[in-house]
Amino acid sequence: MTEPASGFADSVDSVIRALSGQHYVTERGLATAVYLAIRLEKPLLIEGEPGCGKTEIAKALSAASGGELIRLQCYEGLDAAAALYEWDYPRQLLTIRLHERDRTTAQLESEIYTERFLLRRPLLRALEGKGPVRPVLLIDELDRADEEFEGLLLEVLSEFQVTVPEIGTIRASTIPLVILTSNRTRELGDAIKRRCLYAYIGYPSAEKEVEILRQKVPELSLHSAQEIAEFVGRLRTREDLAKRPGVAETLDWTAALLALREHSLRPETIVETLGLLLKDAHDLETYRKEKVAELLAAP
C-alpha cells in the first residue's frame, strides 16, 4: 500500500477537508470511498444522477492533491487509438517517403515504430506520470462507450500497464488515482465493476445543497440559498418531470437569479428562468405560472 501524500489523504476527515478546500461539499460515505481508493490504489467507480458532482470530484481531487488531471471523455466508438495511443501516421508516411531510397524496409520499420512516432492518449499519459504526486485520471461517462472498450480498460485498471506490440509493455511508475463515472445509461460489465470501488451520488439533501450553494456562490445570502434549495428540492419530488434538475442546474439557476438581482423567489421570475432548471420541452410546458406558484406555496 502506497502512503498517501502527507496531509491530503491521511484519513477520511483529511479527504473531507481537502475537498472542502476546493469548495466541494461531500458526504462521509463518498469521502470514505475516495480515501480507500487512494489507500488501496483501486479505481473508484462513481455512479449517480446527472449534474450531481461526479466529474467535479475528480477536478477537486486533482486541485487538492496537486496531481495533473487527465481526462478521457467516453463516447460510442471510442477505441484504443483515441484512448491509449496512436502512431503518428502522417509523420510515418513522410519518413517513409524521405528515406525510401537510402534505407531498407526493415530499417524503415524499426525507425518509424519508436516512441518518437507515438501519439500518447489519456490512458497512456496517466501511466507515464512521473514524480511523487499521483496524477488523477478521470474516465468520464464510461457508460457511453462500447462494452469492448471496457475490455480494453481491464489491463490498464488492474495492472496499471499497457502493451504496445511494437515497443513492449509500459508500466506506471506512479499509480494514478483513477475515477470512473457513469450515468447508468447502461449497466457496466461485472469485470470492470469488480476491479473498482463503488460510490453513488444521489440528489443532495436541502441542508447539503444550501452548503454547496454557499460554498460555490459566496455572495448568496443564507435566506436565498435556503429558499432556492427548498424550491429545487420540492421540484425534484415531482413525479411528472421527465428530467429532474441536478446540482449543476441549481448553481446555474442561482447565478441567473443573482444576475437578475432577484433576492427572493417570485413566480414570474421563476417561470422566466425555468429553462435553466428544466431541460425538457414537455416539462417546461407543464410548469407554467400556476404550477410554480403552487410549488412555492407548498409547505
Partner: protein
C-alpha cells in the same frame, strides 16, 4: 467461506465476522466474489474498525456495485452487525443514550433507519402482496428446444432490422473516407509507394432493447411464448433490459443474465410476487419513465409485451406513450392475440397507443422467417 479475505493484520474474530457477512450477502443474491472480500479486508485495515459508520461505508464502497446492491448491503449490515455494542457511537444531542434497537437493528416505531425507509419504498414499488392472487409467472413452463431455437433466430433477424442508424465505429469499406492507418501499413509493404488508398466508413449502430413485459393475470396463459421471446431477445441482443409489470414495475434483467431458460424462470417466479389490483400500464410506464428514462437511449427500441387490458385512464396512457415515443428509436407492441384471425386492436389501451407504435406484432411472428418483425425497420407512421 473462502480464504480470499484472509489478512495477517485483521483479527481472527473480525475476519470470521467479515466472512459471515459476505456469506449472508451472497445468500441475498449479491455476487460478491473473492475480489470484494480482499478489498473489504484491506479497507478495514485502513480504517478505524471500532467506528461502526466507517466499517459500514467500507462495506458499501467495496462490496456493492449498484444502487440496488447498496440497499442490500445496508440492510444486511444492519441485520448482521446490528447486535454489536457500539463503543464509539456518540450520545444524542441531549446527552441521552442512543435509542434501543431490536435484534435486527430496527429502531422502535416512530423512527426508521435509511435502510428501512428504502425497504418500505421497495415494498411500495413491488405492490401489495396478495396470497389469493396466482403467481404472475409459473415456476416451470416447458418450451421445446426447437421452438426456442426459432425464437433466437427470429430475435437475430429482429436485431438486424432495428439496427438501422450509423454508429461511431469504423469499418474497412471500398467507399468512404481515407483510412490513414491501413494506408500507411500498405505503403510500408510496398516500399513506401502508396499504390492504393484504403478507405473506411461507419458501421451500423448496435441494437439495444428495452422490454416491458406485462405479467398480469390475463397474460399468464401466454407465458410460454412470451418468456421464450423475452429470453431469446435478451440472449441475442447484448444490450437488453427487461422490466416486468402488472400492478407495479420490477426490473428483472439480472435474473436472466447468464442463466439457462430452465434456471431463469423459477428465479423470475420467486422475484415476482403475486399481487392483486389489476394491470396499471400507464402507472408502470410512468414509473419506468421516472426511474429509468435517463437510461434509455435515443437509439433504443422499446418493446411492450401486453394484451392491452388496463385499469387506468386511456388519456394518461396516451400521454405516457407520446412522451416515450419521443425518447426511443422504435416502439414495438407485441400482443399475444395479434396473429389470430379477425384480431382488431379493440382495447382502449391499444387504441390510444397505436398512433405511437411503429409495429404491432404477435410473438408467433418472430419465429417466422418472413414474419411481421421484418417491418420493424420501416419509418414510423406519420
Amino acid at each position: 467461506m473462502n480464504s480470499g479475505t484472509s489478512s495477517p493484520v485483521l483479527g481472527n474474530r473480525l475476519q470470521t465476522r467479515v466472512q459471515g457477512f459476505l456469506d449472508r450477502l451472497r445468500d441475498r443474491g449479491l455476487r460478491s466474489g473473492l475480489a470484494a472480500g480482499v478489498d473489504l479486508s484491506r479497507a478495514l485495515q485502513a480504517l478505524p474498525i471500532l467506528d461502526r459508520n466507517a466499517v459500514r461505508e467500507a462495506c458499501r464502497a467495496t462490496v456493492a456495485k449498484s444502487p440496488a446492491e447498496l440497499a442490500v448491503v445496508d440492510r444486511v449490515f444492519e441485520e448482521y452487525f446490528g447486535s454489536f455494542d457500539l463503543p464509539v457511537t456518540p450520545p444524542s444531542e441531549e446527552g441521552k443514550l442512543p435509542q434501543a434497537r431490536d435484534r435486527l437493528g430496527r429502531a422502535p416505531s416512530g423512527s426508521t433507519t435509511p435502510a428501512e425507509e428504502r425497504e418500505q419504498v421497495e415494498e411500495e414499488l413491488h405492490g401489495r402482496y396478495s396470497p389469493e392472487a396466482p403467481a404472475p409467472v409459473p415456476r416451470r413452463v416447458p418450451l421445446a428446444s426447437e421452438r426456442l431455437r426459432r425464437y433466437r433466430a427470429g430475435a437475430r433477424r429482429f436485431r438486424r432490422s432495428v439496427a438501422t442508424l450509423p454508429g461511431r465505429r469504423w469499418r474497412a469499406h471500398p467507399v468512404g473516407s481515407v483510412d490513414l492507418r491501413r494506408t500507411a501499413r500498405a505503403g510500408l509493404r510496398s516500399g513506401g509507394e502508396f499504390v492504393e488508398l484504403a478507405r473506411r466508413n461507419r458501421s451500423p449502430r448496435r441494437a439495444d432493447l428495452v422490454i416491458l413485459w406485462d405479467v398480469s393475470g390475463s397474460m399468464r396463459e401466454h407465458t410460454t411464448d412470451l418468456f421464450g421471446l423475452v429470453y431469446a431477445l435478451h440472449r441475442v441482443v447484448r444490450r437488453t433490459r427487461v422490466f416486468a409489470f402488472g400492478h407495479d414495475l420490477v426490473e428483472v434483467t439480472q435474473l436472466l443474465a447468464g442463466r439457462s431458460y430452465e434456471r431463469a424462470l423459477p428465479l423470475l417466479a420467486d422475484r415476482l410476487r403475486p399481487t392483486g389490483g389489476g394491470t396499471r400500464i400507464a402507472h408502470c410506464l410512468n414509473e419506468f419513465r421516472r426511474r429509468h428514462e435517463s437510461e434509455v437511449r435515443r437509439t433504443s427500441t422499446l418493446i411492450v409485451l401486453s394484451d392491452g387490458w388496463d385499469l387506468g385512464e386511456p388519456s394518461e396512457l396516451a400521454d405516457q406513450f407520446r412522451r416515450l415515443r419521443g425518447r426511443v428509436h422504435r416502439l414495438v407492441w407485441v400482443n399475444p392475440y395479434a396473429a389470430q384471425v379477425g384480431f382488431r386492436p379493440a382495447t382502449a389501451a391499444l387504441q390510444v397507443a397505436l398512433p405511437y407504435v411503429d409495429l404491432l406484432a404477435s410473438p408467433e411472428d418472430f419465429p417466422l422467417p418472413h414474419g411481421a418483425v421484418r417491418r420493424a425497420g420501416v419509418p414510423a407512421p406519420g
